[in-house]
């Protein structure tokens, strides 16, 4: 309820419900503490101002009120940590689905856009080499690598099927960006020189904004992509359409010009 009052965007991922639940609990706890301390504070200001209480007490409060309050805070915080925070994070990093059970995408950030690299039918990502980067090949994909022959690239447009786990390997070709999906309750820095996998399961079809959450230069504010969560058959149709457009007819390898991804999203 507090989440809704504060305007948290609709959740669209499977684990997001747990995140929202914890966020809700923490906000209730914060509200309770603020109201409790605030009431005490207001009472003190009214009851113990100079006119209402001309003679101060040397001893002040003598009860163990504060000890009880502090111990309660510690207990609630420990509960939040053990019951929610630890398991939620473990699930993020230790329960990564296997590549067979998931859609795997590489996300390569650049100033100022998002490249999405799909492995194609063979399920294998082609080799990347920064030396091959140019305007037509923003991630430096080596089309000579057999694994790269059926790879697909999009810019600022990511598609995922609803109801299937997705693994995204996040990296960057220049500076640090942040791949933030507010509706999926997920965010991961895109750090050049490393590739960090994250996973989530989109459960609601729709169009969601991808935010760059880390200052990356003058165009940072407009570095935005769209995530389209499609029904399974629509997703397949999109993949097939992309393959038809980006890859040369079966037989010969793709011609160099044919690998150009569509511009913009």
């Amino acid at each position: 309820m507090i989440n809704r009052l504060l305007g948290l965007p609709m959740n669209a991922s499977e684990h997001g419900a747990q995140i929202d639940h914890m966020l809700e609990l923490v906000h209730w706890f914060m509200l309770a503490l603020f109201v409790f301390w605030g009431a005490f504070f207001a009472y003190c200001l009214i009851r113990f101002n100079r006119r209402a209480n001309p003679k101060a007490s040397y001893y002040g409060m003598r009860s163990h009120f504060s000890t009880h309050a502090e111990i309660s805070v510690v207990i609630v915080e420990a509960f939040l940590l053990i019951a929610f925070a630890f398991p939620l994070w473990s699930a993020r990093v230790n329960e990564m689905p296997s590549d067979r059970d998931a859609v795997v995408v590489r996300v390569i950030a650049q100033q100022f856009g998002w490249n999405f690299h799909y492995p194609g039918k063979d399920g294998k990502f082609g080799r990347q080499d920064p030396g091959l980067i140019d305007a037509q090949n923003p991630i430096g994909l080596d089309r000579g690598d057999p694994d790269a022959r059926d790879d697909l690239l999009t810019i600022n447009e990511m598609h995922l099927p609803a109801g299937r786990q997705a693994i995204a390997h996040i990296s960057s070709r220049d500076v640090i960006h942040n791949f933030a999906l507010p509706h999926m309750r997920i965010a991961q820095d895109a750090i050049p020189g490393t590739s960090v996998p994250i996973w989530f399961k989109p459960i609601r079809e729709g169009e969601y904004e991808v935010v760059c959450g880390q200052l990356c230069g003058a165009g940072h504010y407009s570095m935005k992509a769209w995530l389209y969560v499609d029904a399974a058959e629509d997703y397949q149709a999109w993949l097939d359409g992309m393959a038809a457009r980006q890859l040369a007819p079966a037989g010969g390898g793709p011609s160099p010009g044919a690998s150009a991804p569509p511009a913009g999203g």
Binding site: F48, S57, V73, V175
Partner: protein, 604 residues
């Protein structure tokens, strides 16, 4: 336990000195404190103006700045037609953070209040190393001048955030990123930022060794550890934080400087493609290393901002509630605990970089743990009001407002401590709201309280109570007008450092900003009114030097030693040797005819 005093430090010679020696190259801790204070207030105002320009751009994206906007031609590189460019916005953002923290709040809280008040409160004639003290101010001053100068070099000042994350900060302000700008290899924004930071860090290190030595060595007879005012304790812990946390950042700053100047690659990995070509760098470095080094300072730095503020609030509450601080010992031990814990929480700024379960468990636990002593401190300050006879003087208004404002800042830190839910909020305006509540209506209100509180000791006159209240109430309202809506924007997913604030209402860059974007105008207007509300303060500070009501030596009827000196205190501070006979907050002692029993009057 008590240290020898007498002619220690620079307080010995009282010969007539030139204006040059007494005001510019003074070794007197009080002059240095005032130097720090005035310089820091100017920087605070300047950092605030940077923010006002940014808030204009956020509320009215693409519209020329009022008044000054007309001065700029449509070809101007940063302000075409008076409209901020994204680079200028990023530059102001980076410099707002840098200036507010390193040139404003820390020098005011530690350099000014610490220098002026600590030796007085422990009954010392001066700081232990008066010349190091002078060097500390001068390093700070020239660091600040360099920081200001960086606005005027080709390409403008640093623009990679106050955190200066590599590799952005490595390529920023170089031809690798912007081939058309004539950047100087040394006199460019980011390089000057690094050199200025090295000076500022040096200044803090010089200050910290001085504070530690002074507090340990120069306490007056009878000033045992548990008779020290809490403010002194807070400054002692702060000094240790500065001493131990700043060197890694100084090293990191020099390393980034070498990356920019000498071709090293501490923070740059291989194979970066920047500005349309492969970056020429030896490669093999780690961007994450910078973040670790930065936040190893960055988090203790938060407590460098807060602890002196808590110390001030504690003094002001004790004086104005006319009763002892409740739980003095718990305050002392809690602040020491905060000091230790602040060194093991830094990676909670880095949950986004990806972290294994064990590491995250450690940092989540320590982060939650540090909330416990913070709660103890705040609770002690709050309960100190209970049973008091509260005088609502201007300093007390600011000190009292500190409690709920800092409380809000602290509470909203809670969801950010838990890594999984932090992902939903990190780098959004929720975080901006959180730490600004801690620092702006929190720490800065405490600093205002301190200025109103100690002004009579510095000048011999009181500041106007009426204009103090005219300063306080609009400030309180406007601070909340600026920062409260940030929580709503942040929950909606509005991220920080967006030049257009999420777009305009008619055409949002981000759809998710649509529901909360209208707050931008409200927040900006609050900021403009807040600026107007500082006028009574500025006038009050200067006018009261001549027109303020004469204060006498102990105008608040306070108990701590700074009020035992003549007003303003002369070189060497005290006229007679001081002997301390009781604790710092003996107010309303049963059986006494007066409601305060000063430390300098031993128990009879």
């Amino acid at each position: 336990m008590a240290a020898a005093h007498g002619s220690g430090g620079g307080g010995g010679a009282h010969a007539r000195q030139s204006v040059w020696a007494s005001y510019i190259f003074s070794t007197d801790h009080k002059v240095i404190g005032v130097q720090y204070g005035l310089t820091a207030l100017v920087f605070l105002l300047f950092g605030f103006f940077l923010m006002l320009a940014m808030r204009w751009q956020l509320a009215y994206p693409g519209q020329p700045l009022p008044v000054v906007g007309k001065l700029f031609s449509p070809q101007h590189p940063f302000l075409p037609g008076g409209v901020m460019s994204p680079d200028l916005y990023n530059s102001f953002g980076a410099m707002h953070g840098t200036i507010m923290i390193f040139l404003g709040v820390v020098p005011l809280a530690f350099g000014a209040f610490g220098n002026y008040v600590v030796p007085l409160q422990i009954g010392a004639p001066d700081m232990a190393f008066p010349r190091i003290n002078m060097a500390s101010y001068h390093a700070y001053f020239w660091g600040g001048v360099l920081m200001l100068a960086s606005f005027f070099v080709p390409g403008g000042s640093a623009k990679s955030g106050w955190t200066s994350y590599s590799p952005l900060a490595n390529v920023a302000d170089t031809q690798a990123l912007a081939p058309t700008v004539a950047f100087h290899p040394v006199f460019n924004g980011q390089t000057l930022w690094l050199i200025a930071m090295v000076l500022l860090i040096t200044s803090s290190l010089l200050g910290s060794v001085n504070f530690i030595t002074t507090i340990i060595q120069l306490r007056a007879k009878g000033m045992s550890w548990m008779r020290m005012p809490f403010f002194v304790w807070a400054q002692l812990v702060t000094a240790f934080l500065l001493l131990l946390a700043f060197p890694p950042l100084e090293a990191a700053g020099v390393m980034q400087l070498m990356d920019r100047l000498a071709g090293t690659s501490f923070f740059v990995p291989s194979g970066l493609y920047v500005g349309g070509k492969l970056l020429e760098a030896s490669g093999g470095g780690s961007p994450i290393l910078w973040q670790h080094l930065f936040w190893f300072l960055g988090h203790p730095e938060v407590y460098v901002l807060i602890l002196p503020a808590m110390g001030i609030v504690c003094e002001v509450i004790a004086v104005n509630s006319r009763k002892p601080i409740w739980g003095y010992r718990s305050l002392v031990f809690a602040s020491i605990a905060v000091g230790f814990l602040s060194f093991v929480v830094w990676a909670h700024h880095m949950y986004l970089t990806g972290m294994g379960a064990r590491v995250s468990t450690f940092f989540q636990t320590t982060t939650v743990l540090i909330s416990v002593p913070s709660v103890i401190i705040l609770t002690a300050l709050l309960i100190s009001l209970w049973g008091g006879s509260i005088r609502f003087t201007t300093p007390m208004l600011f000190a009292a407002a500190f409690i709920p404002m800092f409380g809000l800042g602290g509470l909203t830190g809670l969801p950010l401590a838990f890594s999984a839910i932090d992902l939903a909020l990190h780098d959004t305006y929720y975080v901006i709201g959180h730490f600004h509540y801690v620092v702006a209506p929190g720490t800065i209100f405490a600093l205002f309280a301190g200025i109103y509180h100690w002004y009579p000791k510095v000048t011999g006159r009181r500041m106007s109570e009426f204009w103090g209240k005219v300063h306080f109430w609009p400030s309180l309202i406007c601070m909340n007008g600026i920062f409260l809506p940030m929580f709503l924007q942040g929950m909606a997913g509005v991220h920080r450092r967006w030049y257009d604030g999420g777009g305009t209402f008619e055409s949002p860059t981000y759809e998710l900003a649509k529901a909360v974007i209208h707050w931008n105008e409200f927040m900006s207007i609050s900021a403009f009114v807040l600026a107007a509300a500082q006028l009574p303060f500025i006038i009050n500070v200067f006018a009261s030097i001549w027109r303020g009501e004469r204060a006498g030596d102990n105008p608040w009827e306070a108990t701590t030693l700074e009020w035992a000196t003549p007003t303003p205190p002369p070189h060497g501070n005290f006229e007679r040797p001081i002997e301390v006979g009781r604790g710092p907050y003996e107010y309303s002692v049963p059986g006494h005819e007066r409601d305060f029993a000063p430390q300098w009057e031993g128990p009879r």
